[in-house]
């Protein structure tokens, strides 16, 4: 299997979001599934609204606003989130 580097959103209108205290609820229209997510998933999704990005690019963008620590570790963590989100269909390999 090839590992793809770029990820994109699943369509511009695919998600409806609703904040409940510290949680973010996402209703995913194509699947009809509801997902409950916490930081940094909303931030990663936010970056992807601009267009397809690789994990490293997402980290670089997030680093402008947040203290992320060591870049390698942050990239690994974002990769892991992206893999999970891909399995759920929230993002796709571009």
């Amino acid at each position: 299997m090839t590992v793809s580097l770029y990820y994109r959103q699943d369509g511009p209108d695919a998600l409806v979001a609703c904040a409940l205290e510290e949680m973010l609820l996402l209703y995913h229209r194509p699947s009809g599934q509801t997902h409950m997510v916490i930081s940094p998933v909303p931030e990663i999704l936010g970056e992807l609204t601009a267009g397809p990005l690789a994990a490293g690019e997402i980290v670089d963008r997030l680093a402008q606003r947040y203290e992320l620590g060591a870049r390698d570790q942050a990239v690994g963590a974002v990769e892991a989130h992206l893999a999970e989100m891909t399995a759920l269909g929230l993002v796709r390999a571009a």
Binding site: M1, T2, P30, S31, G32, Q33, A87, G89
Partner: protein, 329 residues
């Protein structure tokens, strides 16, 4: 009472105006039992209806929307899973109709995801699906061996988190059946729906639906399958269909399906005595949604196994099933 009121309402929506209250209640119960309530809701959308019918049909439309959404999502997930294999996802039945926006898909109940893959690709597809979260439903070794040896599909898989089933077929009839449809030709003629999804050609859609209805199953859900055929017939010309059906060895089935579809949902047709028996079985449903004609139903249940298997194998199969406590409904 039989299911004729349901058939009539589907054929001629304006006829529903003549129904009285018990007639409406019977129609709803039959349509739900035959899983045709969503289709009925679409058919009656522009008819003047008693006020109490509006919310009932609106509910059915909500369910149909969900059916379609979930089916398309499962197709999307399966297509993603097998993407690395470079195969398009060849959809069968309800999911194909919904994905392609065919009339047969309007309001249709869609159960499992059925796909067709080349026999040589079965192991790779199986592995890709297992990697993407699908798992085996049955753990019974007899069933598993039976499927792999004699059926035209993998044992059913279910997705571990979404709880939806997928049936992976490599042809459209069991290998034990008497007819041998040309699976390679079916796949060669498949038509694309989107970049990743495809479906059978218009002729093969009917051959498959007719084979499924008349050469394979016990006619459970037959009114719905026949409605599919009625809708699908609009996309083919008679000659092309006959030629295709002959090639698959399904000509008698396709012809019978056409006669029955014409008789029940169309302008009428001359029926043979055997057609009439099938028709009686299709209509065996009363105004409470109950199955009627138990003996006729049982006859078709036995026949469905007879059609799939040589007699000695059938006896062995039914015996094994019986010991495991399976009884026909």
């Amino acid at each position: 009472m039989n299911a004729l009121p349901l058939v009539r309402a589907l054929r001629e929506p304006a006829s529903a105006a003549t129904l009285d209250v018990p007639g409406w209640n019977a129609l709803i119960a039959m349509a739900r039992a035959e899983r045709l309530i969503g289709t009925l809701a679409f058919r009656l959308a522009d008819q003047p209806l008693p006020p109490a019918m509006q919310p009932i049909l609106a509910d059915a439309r909500i369910d149909a929307e969900r059916e379609s959404r979930q089916a398309l999502w499962e197709a999307d997930r399966a297509a993603e899973a097998i993407k690395p294999l470079g195969l398009p996802l060849l959809l069968l039945k309800g999911t194909a109709y919904a994905a392609a926006g065919l009339k047969a898909g309007e309001g249709r109940f869609i159960g499992d995801l059925d796909i067709l893959v080349p026999r040589a690709s079965m192991p790779a597809v199986e592995r890709s699906l297992l990697d993407a979260g699908w798992e085996w439903v049955k753990s019974d070794p007899y069933d598993d061996a039976y499927y792999r040896q004699w059926m035209h599909e993998l044992p059913p898989l279910i997705h571990s988190s979404r709880d939806r089933m997928i049936d992976v077929h490599h042809t459209i009839l069991p290998l034990t059946a008497r007819q041998r449809p040309d699976a390679e030709a079916i796949m060669a003629e498949a038509v694309p729906i989107t970049g990743q999804l495809s479906m059978l050609s218009a002729e093969d859609r009917i051959c498959h639906a007719a084979a499924h209805l008349l050469a394979d199953g016990d006619l459970a859900g037959g009114l719905r399958n026949l409605w599919d055929i009625h809708c699908l017939l609009k996309d083919v010309d008679a000659e092309g269909l006959e030629e295709r059906a002959r090639r698959h060895g399904l000509l008698p089935h396709v012809r019978q399906a056409r006669r029955l579809a014409e008789a029940l949902y169309g302008a009428g047709a001359r029926l043979t005595p055997w057609d009439r028996l099938v028709r009686a079985r299709l209509l065996a449903r009363d105004g409470w949604g109950r199955e009627t004609h138990k003996l006729l139903r049982f006859g078709f249940y036995l026949r469905s196994h007879w059609l799939r298997m040589p007699p000695a194998m059938l006896a062995r199969h039914l015996w094994t099933k019986w010991r495991k406590g399976h009884r026909p409904a």
